[in-house]
């Protein structure tokens, strides 16, 4: 079809700039109404941005506090589900395990063979009711004088456990496989335990008396990465503990594993099977919390509800814009008729009102984004967090407002275009 008939005048047109200017004039000629119309969109977009922003900020916080240490630690608990001496225990004994404990004697080696394990070992609380721990051999007087030391505990630990703890010694050495094999009566002291016992050096080979039995102090643990209760304890080789005091009773034994970075989840899955191929269910491996899982939990629990609320706000906002645009179409019937008489085509009328509603939506979206960002930054500042605003949450927000305005304007704009100039101009 010809763009221009030879006998008709050139088609009327409306440039993008003029359309935007006309729409803006329509928005600002009723500022109060425009502001009220925007509220729903502002709230919806603001809620959307702040929920996503707060979620990513909180998740970032979890990520920050989630240290490398936790990421490389796996513990294996003895569930104690089956009483000792049961079928399982008999089966366990067949597999060469210590009586009364589900962990096999070669736990350190079995775990050490797993891919990703750096060090691993078994430890437990030695089953002594009220052990008398003293730096002097006199049992009778020690019972009273050392009563304030009853907080001290005696831990049985395999050499692998000590290495997995990553301790720093202030003096001396760790006990090792040699002591373990010979069930040597040696011990390590936690820094607090050493202070309470008044022991500061080991070069003079001091001894600690546990219920009168002497244990030679090999070293003093100043700090430790894992198993912090060891600082309050006397640690003895697990073989010696088993020999002298029997297997753990009240508190079941636990395996402590230090893994390579990233290997923890895999090690946690494999450890029970490696230790008890027949009854892996008796052991429960605890991997470090997964940061992604944490974030997902925050996402679903916390923000799910708010995102639904944000969506509701957006719908309310859309209805508000649709309503206002429709009212303004009906109010401005005369204007529509006039514009048609001045050469406007139906599409120019549609475009004008659609641009008006889209501009309203965009304005609401922008305002909502600004408010949402302010909420996130304000919250982060108040809590001394680092505000994390993902571009994918912030950038589309004004566009979301625009989309809401556009959709809301469709019906009123099409209705405006259907208005006949003749009807509109009649008085």
């Amino acid at each position: 079809m010809n763009r221009r008939r030879h006998d008709g005048p050139a088609a009327t047109r409306l440039t993008w700039r003029d359309m935007a200017a006309e729409a803006l004039a329509g928005v600002v000629q009723r500022p109060g109404r425009s502001v009220l119309t925007l509220l729903g969109t502002v709230l919806g977009v603001g809620a959307f941005v702040s929920v996503l922003g707060l979620t990513s900020t909180a998740t970032g916080q979890i990520g920050a506090s989630f240290s490398l240490l936790q990421d490389t630690t796996v513990t294996v608990d003895d569930t104690g589900a089956t009483p000792h001496g049961s079928v399982a225990s008999v089966a366990a004994q067949d597999a060469g395990m210590d009586a009364g404990m589900d962990f096999p004697a070669d736990t350190d080696e079995r775990l050490g063979r797993l891919n990703g394990v750096v060090d691993a070992g078994v430890w437990w609380n030695v089953p002594l009711r009220h052990p008398t721990v003293s730096a002097r051999p006199e049992v009778t007087t020690a019972a009273t004088t050392d009563s304030d030391l009853t907080g001290l505990r005696v831990l049985a630990a395999s050499p692998g456990t000590l290495r997995a703890m990553q301790p720093t010694l202030s003096t001396g050495t760790l006990f090792n496989e040699f002591h373990q094999r010979r069930k040597e009566r040696v011990c390590l002291l936690g820094s607090t335990a050493a202070r309470l016992l008044g022991i500061t050096r080991v070069d003079n080979r001091p001894a600690v008396f546990i219920d009168g039995a002497a244990y030679t102090v090999l070293g003093i643990v100043a700090t430790t990465q894992r198993l912090p209760q060891s600082l309050l304890s006397v640690l003895i080789p697990s073989s010696a503990a088993l020999h002298a005091y029997g297997p753990p009773t009240d508190d079941p034994a636990q395996a402590l594993i230090r893994t390579r970075t990233g290997a923890a989840p895999l090690v946690a899955r494999q450890a029970p099977l490696a230790l008890l191929p027949v009854h892996p269910g008796l052991l429960h491996a605890v991997p470090p919390p997964d940061p992604h899982e944490l974030r997902d939990r925050v996402d679903t629990d916390l923000s799910g509800l708010f995102l639904v609320l944000a969506a509701i706000c957006l719908i309310v906002g859309a209805v508000g814009i649709a309503n206002t645009t429709l009212v303004s179409v009906l109010e401005r019937t005369g204007e529509i008729g006039l514009r048609r008489a001045l050469g406007a085509r139906r599409r120019h009328i549609t475009a004008q009102f659609l641009t008006e509603s889209t501009a309203l939506g965009a304005l609401g979206g922008l305002t909502g984004t600004v408010i949402g960002v302010a909420v996130v930054i304000g919250t982060a500042l108040a809590r001394h967090w680092t505000a994390v605003l993902q571009p994918y949450a912030v950038l589309p927000a004004p566009l979301m407002g625009m989309a809401v305005g556009f959709l809301a304007g469709l019906y009123p704009a099409l209705r405006a275009a259907r208005i006949e100039p003749l009807e509109a101009l009649r008085h």
């Binding site: 009327t12 204007e335 001045l342 085509r345």
Partner: protein, 267 residues
């Protein structure tokens, strides 16, 4: 003050036609309008009407006689039921909606009884609105609007809102808006219907002045006094047009009675 109206604007090549002999601006042959319904209303019986360039025609008739119907047909706001209508040589029946909009915007100027000014726009903006769909250059639109407002004697009220203008001033703004595109024809539907007689006289003076400067004008009115200012008069009664120099005595009496009843001050 309106001498350049004809000289510079009206002779623009856009408005020349292909016909060798100058064709009339408006040429109606057997045009009629029947509003469907039960019973159908024949608002305009088959009518012949020619308006030459430079004419100043008044269509006079009582209320309900079909004046607005005729004007809406002339202004392409409505389509005739039958007959052919050529505007500046163009048979408008063949035009698409797009072209009809273009004819309305570029070749026709409308002046309404109720002014139809946008209340939130200044006089200047209201006049410039007529150029909005015609030319994309905003600065030119403003300049054209200002010049035309000066031509109708409102150079000092460019930035006034309609609410700050008197009825006569408002109709002057509306007339400026109607002529700013230098249309082939200026169509005025009861332009003085909302004005007192003194203001109405001034508005008719302005239309006469525009006509002197070359504008082709059709005014419809029920007021014989207003019609008296036109060069040529056509009477319409019950949808039938009759070109008479003066109204019959009976029609004149009834019209005088009607205008006495309906003429009011400015809104």
């Amino acid at each position: 003050m309106t001498s350049e109206y004809m000289a510079s604007e009206y002779a623009s090549p856009d408005y020349t036609t292909t016909a060798t002999a100058p064709s009339p601006v408006l040429d109606l042959r057997r045009v009629c309008k029947v509003y469907p319904g039960s019973p159908p209303v024949t608002a305009l019986h088959p009518t012949d009407l020619r308006v030459e360039a430079g004419d100043f025609l008044a269509v006079v008739g009582p209320s309900g006689s079909g004046k607005s119907t005729l004007l809406n047909l002339l202004g392409l706001l409505d389509r005739p039921t039958q007959g052919s209508y050529r505007l500046s040589g163009t048979d408008v029946a063949t035009l698409t909606e797009r072209d009809r909009a273009a004819v309305r915007g570029r070749r026709v100027g409308f002046v309404f009884q109720a002014f139809h000014l946008l209340p939130h726009r200044t006089a200047l903006e209201n006049v410039a609105l007529a150029r909005l769909y015609v030319t994309p250059r905003g600065a030119h639109r403003q300049a054209d609007a200002a010049r035309t407002l000066r031509e109708v004697g409102l150079g000092h009220r460019l930035d006034a809102l309609p609410s700050q203008l008197s009825g006569g001033e408002r109709q002057r703004v509306a007339i400026a808006r109607a002529v700013v595109n230098t249309p082939d024809i200026l169509l005025c539907d009861e332009p003085t219907g909302n004005l007192d007689s003194a203001t109405a006289g001034a508005v008719m003076d302005l239309l006469a002045e525009l006509n002197q400067a070359g504008a082709t004008i059709v005014v419809i009115t029920h007021d014989p006094a207003v019609a008296q200012r036109a060069r040529r008069r056509v009477t319409i009664l019950d949808g039938r047009l009759s070109e008479t120099a003066c109204l019959s005595e009976k029609a004149r009496l009834s019209e005088t009675a009607k205008s006495g009843r309906t003429a009011g001050g400015p809104r």
